[in-house]
């Protein structure tokens, strides 16, 4: 890929890559590694994208697949307790820190669909294609994730 086109896409979407990876891996350090790897693949790509939406879809899909491989890695399974202890990002408001902690406490499959749906604005069908899951599985995960977050905050209020 041409340098200028790369810099344009990388600058615009590196945060998207980082957030997708962070939601999947729950480790800022590993998410940064994923950003580097995905951007290198972008740089090595020989052909242009049909559109910017195509580029964004490609970047998210490559990120998801890369993170899936990381999650499956036997090396990671042995070391994850150390990386999971990484510091909580600094948020402007306490409420945001709580929401972040609650979301990150969900299992990975719920975090990822939540992010793609709420933040990136992908439809259920597009998320199914991005994650290699069925449409019904994505719908169920979204619904359960919302329920889990709702019940967490309801319980917190009661306490």
């Amino acid at each position: 890929m041409e340098r200028d086109a790369f810099l344009l896409l990388a600058g615009k979407y590196k945060d998207t890559i980082f957030r997708v990876a962070l939601n999947m891996l729950a480790s800022p350090h590993e998410a940064e590694d994923a950003v580097q790897e995905v951007l290198l693949r972008l740089l090595e790509r020989g052909r242009d994208f049909e559109s910017e939406e195509h580029a964004r879809f490609w970047l998210v899909r490559v990120t998801i697949n890369l993170c899936k491989n990381t999650l499956r890695s036997p090396w990671r399974k042995r070391h994850v307790p150390l990386t999971a202890a990484e510091a909580l990002p600094a948020f402007e408001e306490r409420e945001q820190s709580e929401l972040y902690s609650t979301v990150m406490a969900l299992p990975e499959k719920y975090r990822t669909v939540l992010y793609l749906f709420y933040y990136e604005g992908y439809s259920v069908k597009e998320i199914a294609k991005l994650t290699g899951s069925g449409v019904s599985a994505v719908t169920t995960r979204l619904s359960r994730a919302r329920e889990m977050i709702r019940s967490h905050f309801t319980e917190a209020e009661v306490d």
Binding site: L22, V62, Q96, Y118
Partner: protein, 326 residues
């Protein structure tokens, strides 16, 4: 859940990766590789028929290696009788009657080692032409019979069908010419799951099995449920670059295939080809060449009885492989 709260929270997360530094680092590496590529390209262009140009798209035609029968062989082909004294032997051992007729038009054999211009493809092309014109009457093979030969250990055990010194010499000549190594050490067999332990989680398939060489070349026969489509049976072969491999595939008529390039989910671009009875996936990787032979095409039902392979199904199957770890 409040969508605004969610987006406000996650919008505060940023990557610290410096894309400018990444591009600069890559450019330095690219300049080195470009110099090497230029030298390699010059060498390749000097070789007869070298066609590959770095970075351009490929086609199925670049894999076809139908040998052209030599003039003397074409004349011999009209005479299908066995050599004198061989008839009795052949009658006693009918399994040794070997046909060496040229392939009829529309039956294309393809290389699974690399595209035209690569040393692996050129080597396979030369071997294929030699083999096709060699011992066309089957006389030498009949003499050898089924007894172990002096060439068995080095060649046959590792997949090369060599049964004479002349063949062994030719094989050595070709590998030396293209600086390729022979497979060695014999093959190891295993289930798909066992092979995935050796080569990584490159496929979602779990069923059936395959074999591999110690150099990393391997083949699996597998079966996989492609979401929203059905059960697909396929063969996947990874051939390591730098090694001489002689496995070819009959695809019938290459002109009958619809072809397109596709970016797989793992980020590796592949060539997809969809024909009436077969569907194919090719990935030209840094260290190896991967070919997937789907045992069904547009006009053939899958093993579970569902309809033929579609473009979408072939793309979904391609997405299910992780070519980036092969």
């Amino acid at each position: 859940m409040d969508k605004n709260k969610y987006t406000d929270t996650f919008s505060q997360l940023h990557s610290s990766v410096d894309e400018t530094a990444l591009a600069a680092r890559k450019s330095a590496r690219k300049r080195f590789h470009a110099a090497a590529a230029l030298i390699a390209a010059a060498v390749m262009l000097l070789s007869a028929g070298a066609l590959a140009v770095y970075g351009r798209s490929h086609s199925l035609r670049e894999l076809v290696l139908n040998p052209t029968p030599p003039v003397s062989a074409q004349t011999e082909a009209a005479d299908t009788s066995l050599p004198e004294g061989a008839q009795d032997s052949a009658a006693a051992q009918p399994a040794k009657s070997v046909s060496y007729d040229p392939l009829p038009e529309g039956r294309d054999m393809i290389s699974l080692q690399g595209y035209a211009g690569s040393p692996e493809h050129q080597a396979m092309l030369e071997w294929s032409e030699f083999e096709h014109g060699y011992d066309r009457s089957g006389e030498i093979l009949l003499e050898v019979g089924n007894e172990p030969t002096p060439w068995y250990e080095k060649y046959c055990y590792n997949g090369y069908l060599v049964y004479s010194q002349e063949m062994a010499d030719k094989l050595d000549e070709i590998t030396e010419k293209y600086s390729l190594s022979l497979h060695s050490g014999g093959i190891q067999t295993g289930t798909v799951t066992q092979l995935k332990k050796v080569f990584g989680d490159f496929t979602a398939a779990e069923r059936w099995g395959g074999y591999y060489y110690s150099d990393g070349t391997f083949q699996i026969d597998a079966s996989q449920d492609v979401p929203d489509f059905g059960i697909v049976d396929f063969q996947l072969r990874r051939t390591m670059k730098g090694f001489f491999d002689t496995v070819a595939l009959n695809i019938n008529d290459a002109e009958q295939y619809e072809q397109w390039e596709y970016d797989t989910a793992c980020g590796v671009p592949v060539l997809l080809a969809l024909g009436p009875e077969k569907a194919l996936i090719f990935a030209d990787l840094e260290d190896s060449f991967v070919a997937v032979n789907v045992l069904a095409g547009q006009a053939t039902p899958l093993s579970d009885g569902s309809g033929g392979v579609t473009r979408e199904a072939l793309e979904a199957l391609a997405d299910s492989f992780d070519f980036s770890i092969l």
